[in-house]
Amino acid sequence: MTGAADAGAPLLEVRGVGKSYGSVSALRGVTASVAAGEVLCVLGDNGAGKSTLIKILAGAHAPTEGTLLAHGVERQFASPRDALALGIATVYQDLALVPLLPVWRNFFLGAEITVGRGPFRRLDVAAMRRATRDDLALMGITLRDVDQPIGTLSGGERQAVAIARAVHFGAGLVILDEPTSALGVSQAALVLRYIARARDRGIGIVFITHNPHHAWAVGDRFLVLRRGTSLGEFGRDEISLEALTGLMAGGAELDALGPELDRAASARDPA
């Protein structure tokens, strides 16, 4: 598929990318990379530029500055389809699932396996059930019944189905848009476990989150964004969880604000 691709190169790399809308700059000078079997965490508060970065990586938006390289080759994605063709899939927060539809039908929706020709072309139900069960087992989910509506799975499991689906259809790199943010503690832990599972199978992961604890649990590299700029990309050995949290929250700013917030909180009734 990518004959010129360099096998040792990162799956996806951005060098100084940015995006401006007219005179408004949403993102500037972001450099980061993610290799196979590696988790790149993108951290940032609301409005930090995370979603702009996802859209650039997913091919939904073209960057207005900088370069993007897939498998070591410079690329310009015209649409998410171009990214998908290079094995870069994005799992958005809504997961693109149909709650009342059985798990296996969701898994293969839009890319159903069929047998037969012409008017007799029909679904290969047995093959799809089997593939769904096997692929979910690889993620560490053993479903006794792939015919149950996907809405009956827990939030974490649904997230895992969406990841497994992306991987099944050829994604070597999966971009996860805040997969843990809508979940409770135990479900978020489940998702982190699935992310680790996918990473161990050699899948590259871009994990977008605003929770440094979640990032620290699975991340190999950490990209911190704030107000549309990169505060740097760090390896796991270059930064600590405390430093990461401080960086994300705006470190010094928050420290200065600390005493003030304390007083404000004690003066007011807990909301």
Binding site: D94, R105, T152
Partner: protein
């Protein structure tokens, strides 16, 4: 399984009972069986060969439409123009053959083309404007109702078209749409065969083809379906054309059965089709239901319609019964949805 750490938490797996109740058509099956038993025992005519043939015929006309409407409802849309359309197609054939002397086969094709055109118009309006199909097809329903009466009166001076029996080729076309054959002492009308065949075909399409999979997805969560590449617009077009085609078929079945057609044919039946589909387990919100269920819903309606006649009750009880069934069905559906449905 291999790793204790990866065992995920999940709600208790529902027992066989709940799994069975998850099937959309189970409630309708139980109700149909109950109504069958009741009228079989309480009236003498219900279980006679002539009686069975009567309620099966009645059910078949509603059933063909109910199955098509069920597909559309699973796909998340309504078609209120379906009832009036059965009249429109019959009238087109009637007028074209008796007034203009058109060949009957050509008239059949003309009526089908007209029905498909209306279906395509419904689909086009719904998919391109995003308006609810309920309101769009309510409009086409009234347009058709008005046209059926006004145009028929304009061209023939009356509100009924008769004398189709004298048209050349009527008997040949009647083999397809208005014939009957003996079976177990019954005089089985061909529409029953159409009904069973179409229910089977619709079930196969729904459960075993890509299109069927897409119908569920489009009705269940159109945005998700679009994201994974399902051609939402094309699916909806296909469904509206299906109800239009079914309306044509039912129009022909009625026309060739009695060889006359009233300008008011089909008016008021659009809701019966929807009720049959809902009684058969279709969710009004889309994404869930079955063709067999809709066929059973129509069977319930047909049995009640004729059973009330056989029992010599006031036929007005039928409407009250229909309303009661509908209420019961939506309550059962609500419960099913809670059991099997979304958890967030």
């Amino acid at each position: 399984m291999t790793q204790a750490a990866t065992v995920t938490e999940r709600p208790a797996r529902p027992g066989r009972g709940v799994a069975l109740l998850r099937r959309p058509e189970v409630g309708a099956f139980v109700a149909a069986f109950g109504i069958f038993l009741y009228f079989s025992i309480s009236t003498s005519a219900f279980l006679t060969p002539a009686g069975v043939a009567t309620w099966l015929y009645s059910s078949s006309l509603f059933g063909i439409m109910a199955v098509a409407v069920a597909l559309l409802m699973i796909g998340g849309e309504f078609d209120l123009s379906a009832g009036a359309m059965t009249g429109t197609t019959g009238l087109i054939v009637g007028i074209a053959t008796t007034q203009w002397g058109l060949n009957i086969w050509l008239a059949l094709v003309l009526a089908l083309a007209a029905a498909l055109l209306v279906g395509a118009f419904n689909a086009w309006l719904v998919t391109s404007t995003g308006l609810p199909s309920f309101i769009v097809t309510l409009a086409t329903f009234f347009i058709l109702q008005g046209l059926n009466l006004a145009v028929t009166k304009l061209l023939t001076g009356t509100v009924a078209i008769q004398g189709l029996g004298a048209v050349t080729g009527f008997d040949q076309a009647r083999v397809l749409f208005g014939s009957s054959f003996p079976l177990f002492g019954m005089d089985v009308k061909i529409s029953i065969v159409w009904w069973i065949l179409l229910t089977g075909l619709a079930t196969w399409v729904l459960l075993r083809t890509r299109f069927g999979n897409w119908v569920f997805a489009v009705g269940g969560q159109a945005a998700s379906a679009r994201q994974v590449g399902v051609p939402v617009r094309r699916v909806k077009f296909g469904l509206f054309l299906t109800t239009a085609g079914a309306a044509w078929l039912v129009g022909m079945l009625q026309l060739f059965d009695v060889s006359t057609v009233q300008a008011t044919t089909g008016i008021g039946q659009e809701f019966v089709y929807i009720i049959c589909a809902v009684v058969g387990g279709c969710l009004l919100t889309g994404g869930f239901g079955s063709a067999v269920g809709a066929a059973l819903g129509a069977l319930i309606y047909g049995m009640a319609l004729q059973g009330i006649v056989f029992a010599q009750w006031d036929s007005n009880w039928l409407k009250a019964f229909l309303g009661g069934m509908l209420l019961l069905a939506v309550l059962v559906n609500l419960w099913v949805r809670r059991q099997a449905g979304e958890r967030s």
